[in-house]
Amino acid sequence: MTPDRFKELNSLLLDWEEGTLNEAGVERLREILRTDDESRAHYVRLQMMTAAMSLDGEAGLDDFSADDGVTQAIEDVSPEDVSPKVRVPAGASLSRYGRWMLAAALLVGLLAGRLIQLELADHADKSNEGDEPGSSIVVTDKRDESEEATSRGVALITRLVDVTWPADQRSMEVGDALPPGAFEIAAGYAQIEFFCGATVILEGPAEIDLKSPQLATVHRGTLRAQVPPAARGFSLEVDDLKVVDLGTEFGLSVTDEGANVQVFDGEVELLQPQSTKRLLTAGKGLVRTPDGEYEETVVTPDSFLDIATLESRAQGQHDERYERWRSWSEELRRDPRLITYYAFDQTDGWNRRLTNSLEPANSELDGAIVGADRSPGRWLAKSSLEFKRPGDRVRVQIQGEYGSLTFSCWVKIDSLDRWFNSLFLTDGYNKGEPHWQILDTGQLYFSVRPRERGEEGPVDFKALSPPFWKPSLSGRWLHLATVYNVPRASITHYLNGEVLSEASVPTEKMVEETRIGTASIGNWSVPTQADSRFAIRNLNGSMDEFALFAAALTTDEIKEIYHNGKP
């Protein structure tokens, strides 16, 4: 199918939509669709796009102004705003879409003999005082465009050992996807797995240019490539020389003196314009000088670090980081500002008590583990708790009145399955009690209730960060923190030591005295509404370390927690 046919389909459909397509045009469109799968696929793509735009239009999602980075604070809850991802503009008349959705809801509700809470049905029980339902509704896609680039990757970073980054490049982390383009390290070792299946260990200083899942250009540096049969054809370019792998393991070192290719296993093809291709087999090495001459060279596998050796070096770094965290954590335990602290470093896997790590110890603050299983933590030497099933949680009881609060935890999120995904939720959500959770839109969400149940008063202020979650973060340890600063009347969210957002709390919604009482980590125990979508808030992921301070920590202090705790 040629692009011309695509163009023709596009144009025929536009006329059809406008009502100006004549009989011959309809026939022509059908004729194209009968020809092949590709034209049908293209047709459906265009139609789905039209349907999607119409749905978004009906849902009021037609504001594309870039509003990244601004904390969203949604105040008033209107019952029709029940979908967390869809905002219905205030006073919107019932549109075509709305009408049939409502019709569907009514039909089903009627037949079922009871009112069923469909998306557009009246969600909040009026007699109930849930303060935090659906208005959470923020246009979903506010992810930073540069962040999005990671999902257009051609390779993944799977290991970093002693890496230092060049001053002009932002540092990257294990698990990051690499988009096409330059990748540079100043020192250390980076293990990169190309999406085609080839693994490359790069020794710094090195500079490469990723072209595609099976091709990269090497400007300088030493690397070892391991290419399983499935990734055969993986190629590296050095100037106009192309090294094509035929299923093997080889080393490549590029310096000012030329390119040195050594084959340790299997064979490699060297291609160069105006030159016959050369085959290099195991145990052979060639140096190509800058003037294009080839010289045979001895094979020196030891000068190209292999995966096993890198693994043991990575283990060394891993142990070192664990030790650093441990000594920092020993210090932290004595911090008088701590309300409670769980380091998750118990070794007795059978114990259903989550011992708090404060010094001096206070067993009153121990948590009760319900359901959640122990699973590996940030380091092999310590565990975490995995929250999976709707019942999984840790129950805690914390007495006392406080002012400012700081929440900090390390989590590994598998996915955000629930509308609200709990980090730490007080049971009743009464006056002065905080709720700390993540919305399914990937936004960190913190609120403190400003009034007693049953009393009139302002609704809570909802501090929402911009969406920070994206599926590529799944399975990675993240540090989340939120600071509730009473004197400054502000709420600040942090991800990995960096500020996500900061919001000022309006005076009438500001609560100066906070309290916890009974609460759950990773779940919500006493929902204020029965609707399961609202009430079920179990986290799908693991938690390793949780700290709550009776103070507003500074940005530097949050950074310090992150740097001492990162795996």
Partner: protein, 175 residues
Amino acid sequence: MTGSDKTEHFVQQLATHQNRLYGYVFSLLGDHTRTADVLQETNMVLWRKIDEFQTDKAFLPWAFAIARFQVLAHLRDKKRDRLLLDAELAETVSVETERQAQHLDELREALRPCMRTLSAGNRDLVERRYFRAMSISEIAQEVDRTVSAVKVALLRSRRHLSECIQRRMAAEGDA
């Protein structure tokens, strides 16, 4: 599972997949009003057949099958009306439609950043035409351009958007 659990589960599934069903039916009919009608009929049939609904089986393939049947019935019924596809062709296209309709949410996710890559002028045209359902002649009048100029700009924008969405969705699948 008790009857009321089953009902709840069914309703939840029906609500969850409304948009995908909408995308599915629309792709085969190419008309929003007809789509709304057929979708409502589909919901009704699904409801009547709740006994056939097995909670341990995937809801969506079952719902798509019933939606397809409703679309085909509609096309045969309205044979004398102006229709985009005939029943036979709709049947052929339905396989691909079902495949793509499953990913409607990802498409909507991709759509937003792609919209931002359009020039402000073109984005405005697309918004008017597709998000706010204005006709091309209305738009032409409002923005003071000729119908054919608006058409050309819309065609180009649609192509751009479609490619952008396809790239993004493919990339999401990769990483």
